[in-house]
């Protein structure tokens, strides 16, 4: 069923009783050309592009929980392409362009809201680093603006200009960046993939990877064995566990990142604002809640919940940046399990096993990457060839000495 204003009116007149499920609930077939492990944003996007762009339609997505139950449903919904390193920027800009056409492509309103992401700087050194980044963006043809203090005051008057511990001197703005409605991204890709014939199988946990003669032949699941020609892993947060089933040793640690939402408020924060005196970032959703977060809790964890010390620290940074947040009440905190990689950048690659493909290591940046990750992963699976914008994101980059270390923090995952 195609969605439109007319379909809404037509259905309303018939009591909204004729809407159909947005995706089917099929029983698994005995064999698929491609099985994707992980029914989150990346897995679903991969399935969608495989079917739509690369003509691979005999595809199943296996999800151990409900669809979208991983990080696609628990993030701060930020979409941006303001990276510095040449290994990253083309990839994220490719993603940004896909975002910009996603609603029409999917016939699903993911509520992309290009309200601009601004990253504040508080010292000359930080400004220089942002200038370097802004120019790297321009090199890739991505527009960026350096907003100086006086202009910033007019744009965002409620920042802590007068009493901040670290003076707010300006910011680097990407106007095309913004937010999207996270759940809708999962649902839209699911519906799109489903319409192209992809089987999305929820509550189907992969418990083993069967190999014969060094080649993957299928997966053991809670719903029995399912054969496949190619197996693609997109289970961020649990990549190490799924990889272990095929004896893959991965450069990952799982960490918990907390995010928060306040009570609903009338519109008051227009941009996505990122604090340079810490890691705090905040935006306001279309429902009115202020959505924010900061750094990971710091220890490796598979629990989707965070600790109070980190939460308090997040609030300290928030009030330091915007004093007027002080009386705003925080409604809910949640935790997502991140694949923190050793250089802070993701991995999209083949593996040492011929028909096993890997998509992992998204750190906290997975949501914005969803379209490009799906597209590039589908490209790799279908053609056995790395997409040009994902060339720097190979698994062997650590052994070869080509880490893509945006933070310059070195091989300690919790520093990225």
């Amino acid at each position: 069923m195609r969605y439109s204003a007319f379909s809404i009116v037509r259905n309303a007149l018939s009591g909204n009783l004729n809407w159909k499920p947005q995706w089917r609930q099929p029983q698994p077939k005995s064999h698929y050309d491609v099985i994707i492990v992980g029914g989150g944003g990346h897995g679903l996007a991969t399935a969608y592009y495989l079917a739509k762009e690369f003509g691979v339609k005999n595809v199943a997505v296996l999800e151990k929980g409900y669809l979208g139950s991983g990080n696609v449903g628990r993030n701060t919904t930020i979409v941006r392409s303001n990276y510095m390193l040449p290994g990253n920027e083309p990839f994220y800009e490719f993603s940004m362009k896909l975002w910009e056409g996603l609603e029409q492509d999917l016939n699903y309103n993911v509520m992309l809201s290009q309200r601009g992401v601004i990253m504040l700087y508080h010292s000359d050194g930080q400004r220089d680093a942002y200038v370097r980044r802004g120019n790297a963006m321009w090199m890739e043809g991505v527009s960026a603006e350096l907003i100086e203090r006086e202009q910033l005051k007019k744009m965002i008057p409620f920042l802590n200009y007068d009493h901040a511990r670290y003076p707010i001197l300006g910011g680097l703005l990407q106007r095309r960046a913004g937010t999207a409605r996270h759940d809708a991204v999962a649902w839209g890709y699911a519906r799109g993939a489903d319409q192209h014939g992809v089987d999305i199988i929820e509550h189907c946990e992969v418990t083993g990877i069967r190999r014969e003669n060094g080649v993957v032949t299928g997966v053991e699941t809670s719903k029995g064995f399912i054969g496949c020609g190619k197996l693609a892993l997109a289970a961020a947060g649990n990549s190490s566990r799924v990889g272990e089933m095929a004896d893959l040793k991965l450069p990952l640690e799982s960490h918990v990142l907390q995010a928060f939402v306040t009570e609903g408020l009338k519109p008051c924060i227009d941009h996505v604002i990122v604090y340079g005196g810490g890691h705090f970032y905040i935006s306001q959703s279309d429902k009115g809640g202020l959505v924010f977060g900061a750094e990971i809790d710091g220890y490796s964890s598979y629990a989707q919940r965070g600790n109070l010390a980190t939460a308090e620290h997040v609030m300290e940074e928030g009030v330091s940046m915007i004093p007027g947040l002080s009386r705003v009440r925080v409604l809910r905190a949640w935790g997502g399990v991140m694949d923190m990689s050793m250089d802070g950048s993701p991995i999209i690659d083949r593996t040492s096993i011929d028909n096993l493909y890997l998509n992992c290591g998204w750190c906290y940046g997975g949501f914005k990457a969803t379209p490009a990750s799906g597209y590039c992963f589908a490209h790799l699976i279908a053609r056995n060839d790395t997409h040009p914008v994902a060339r720097a994101l190979r698994l062997d980059r650590f052994a070869r000495g080509y880490a893509v270390d945006e933070a310059g923090a070195g091989p300690q995952p919790n520093l990225h």
């Binding site: 190490s240 450069p251 220890y299 598979y302 980190t310 919790n414």
Partner: protein, 92 residues
């Protein structure tokens, strides 16, 4: 664990007194070890779901690296021992 750690030298302490370094099961290879051994040491992590050992540095306390044995799902802490003692044992 996420809230309190019992430091063998200082007693029960809040999380914010510590900096977490990561996997404590790794042993630094000999200088002559293979490229692969070095790669695995620096870049590969077992990342277990369940019981793990992790280095917590008591930066605001005794400044000792502690080996915290804990569960990555329940966050239960099983033991906390001094890192140097553990390292000597591992090297043996």
């Amino acid at each position: 664990m996420a809230s309190l750690i019992t430091c063998p030298h200082c007693g029960v302490r809040p999380k914010e007194e510590f900096a977490i370094r990561g996997d404590a099961s790794l042993v630094r290879p000999a200088p002559s070890a293979s490229d692969e051994a070095w790669h695995d040491y620096v870049y590969v992590r077992a990342n277990p779901r369940g019981r793990t050992v992790e280095h917590w540095h008591h930066v605001a306390g005794c400044r000792r690296f502690l080996v915290v044995e804990r569960d990555t799902v329940t966050h239960e802490v099983y033991s906390v021992v001094d890192g140097a003692a553990a390292a000597r044992e591992a090297q043996r």
